[in-house]
């Protein structure tokens, strides 16, 4: 309910949703670099899988030789060979 109100206000005012709704913003450069803004922390970190929390669940980054090249409170930069990015809800779907 609260989210829907926010959405409609953001739509009416044409505000960027990552600001208004605190949604994650992912920038993918080729297959080797990824920048995620508005993350909420690392859940799992391995060379082939990195899971980080976002406002509406989790993001799974699958790949090979993955490293976190930068970890700041707002930004998360991942480098390595990225194969897949999955969005997983709070309920695990």
């Amino acid at each position: 309910m609260k989210n829907n109100v926010r959405k409609s206000i953001a739509g009416a005012l044409q505000l960027p949703s990552e600001v208004a709704l605190d949604q994650v913003r992912i920038i993918l450069t080729g297959q080797n670099n990824m920048l995620a803004e508005n993350h909420k922390g690392i859940i799992e970190y391995g060379r082939s899988k990195i899971v980080f929390r976002i406002n509406s669940g989790f993001v799974e980054v699958l790949g090979e030789g993955l490293t976190i090249s930068s970890l700041q409170s707002e930004e998360l930069a991942i480098s390595g060979e990225i194969i897949a990015i999955c969005f997983v809800g709070e309920d695990g779907r």
Binding site: G41, I42, Y45, T67, I68, S69, L71, Q72, S73
Partner: protein
């Protein structure tokens, strides 16, 4: 790039985090506002990351809370370099001393070189170097302590025979570049008495005498070698000077037959080698003297057989090359032949024409030569300066002198 620079200035630490809950360590760091970079997982229990030096003390409670331990693996950046320098003062002093020494060594003048576009004798070079030393340009001195301009002035003041002196430094070498003054000899200063004579046949258009006495006038026809202006005037014997414009004609002839035979090499070659003894005795070693070509061009080369130095055998090796040739007949229509002849005639007429000559008119005439050949004559009329200065001999000078005396007497 800026982040690398910031990390270098602030000091960067590579830490290794060991423990079960490394992710918790990372998240707690984030919550404390500690930025991490280059996070690499080695295995299940070990993660490495870079942090800024100032944040290291804030990591202790985080490590405690996440049940992890961290150790510093590598220290990088300016604070560590400064610390190293502070501890190893001699190293810093040595580095500074080395830089100073390098600067001073590269500032020392090691040699003086005298250069000139013209040849200079060893004694002249030695004198110039000595003067430069007197002015303070000495080997072993620092180059920024030298006054090069003063040295220049000193050398040019002491040696007036030099028209140009430049003292410059290239590397450790002082280059003294000089140019000697070349005086015109007295002999060259005297301009010999001479006439202006016609270089070509022509009809005088205009004559403008600067020095001397004119012998011709506008409209006169002159031939090559005719004296146009004599080398004397009221003041005495002079080197005649004048502009003599004249109409000059150039003529060229060209012809073209309606059927022309053109000889061309086919590329086929035949070679014979023969041994030749005195008294015209010959023996063919390779081939014989009957090439199977209808038309050919023959070229012969003889090689005396030398055993050693000037010891020669009385036998000569003669190599003859026969180049096969082909004769082609090229036919022209009368119009084409005339065009070819006219073209050749114009080309021949222009051969003697100097570049930039003013052409007044040109004329192309057909010379009647029958039906099988076309002949043309191309004539170009130009206006050009035909005057040429020629020195006169003693006898002529005496003649001029007597003419002058006669004129003076008649005037008195």
């Amino acid at each position: 790039m800026s982040s690398i620079l910031t990390r270098f200035v602030n000091g960067n630490l590579r830490i290794e985090i060991r423990g079960e809950y490394a992710e918790k360590f990372l998240n707690l760091s984030l919550m404390q506002g500690i930025g991490l970079s280059n996070i690499v997982r080695y295995d299940e229990r070990r993660i490495a990351a870079d942090i800024i030096l100032a944040d290291i003390y804030r990591l202790r409670p985080i490590a405690r809370a996440s049940h992890c331990r961290f150790i510093i693996k590598r220290r990088q950046g300016l604070p560590f370099i400064l610390e190293r320098c502070r501890r190893r003062k001699l190293l810093l002093i040595g580095a500074v001393a080395f830089c100073v020494f390098l600067y001073l060594a590269s500032s020392l003048v090691l040699s003086l070189t005298v250069t000139s576009p013209y040849s200079l004798s060893q004694s002249e070079k030695a004198r110039i170097v000595a003067l430069a030393r007197e002015a303070g340009v000495v080997e072993g001195k620092l180059k920024f302590t030298m006054d090069l301009e003063a040295a220049q002035e000193h050398i040019s003041g002491e040696l007036p025979q030099l028209s140009f002196v430049e003292v410059s430094i290239i590397g450790n070498n002082v280059i003294i570049n000089v140019v000697k003054r070349v005086d015109v000899s007295e002999e060259d200063k005297i301009i010999a008495c001479g006439d202006i004579v016609a270089a070509k046949d022509g009809v005088i258009e205009q004559i403008l005498v600067r020095k001397g006495t004119a012998c011709v006038k506008a409209g006169d026809t002159v031939t090559a070698g005719t004296v146009l202006v004599r080398g004397y005037n009221q003041s005495g014997l002079v080197a005649a000077s004048a502009i003599v414009s004249a109409h000059v004609w150039y003529s060229g002839y060209g012809e073209c037959a309606l059927e022309n035979t053109v000889v061309k090499n086919t590329g086929e070659q035949y070679m014979t080698v023969e041994l030749s003894w005195p008294k015209q005795i010959k023996a063919y070693v390779w081939g014989d003297n009957t090439p199977e070509f209808q038309y050919y061009y023959q070229q012969q080369k003889s090689m005396p057989l030398v055993i050693w130095r000037n010891i020669r055998l009385p036998v000569e090796l003669i190599i003859t090359y026969y180049q096969e040739q082909q004769q082609n007949i090229i036919s022209f229509t009368p119009e084409q032949a005339w065009q070819q002849a006219a073209k050749a005639a114009e080309k021949n007429a222009r051969i003697a024409l100097a570049d930039g000559t003013k052409i007044v008119s040109s004329d192309l005439k057909e010379i009647d030569a029958g039906d099988s050949i076309k002949r043309a004559r191309f004539t170009i009329e130009t206006i050009e300066d035909i005057g040429d200065f020629v020195k006169v001999d003693e006898q002529t000078q005496q003649q001029y002198q007597s003419l002058l005396n006669k004129d003076n007497n008649s005037t008195e």
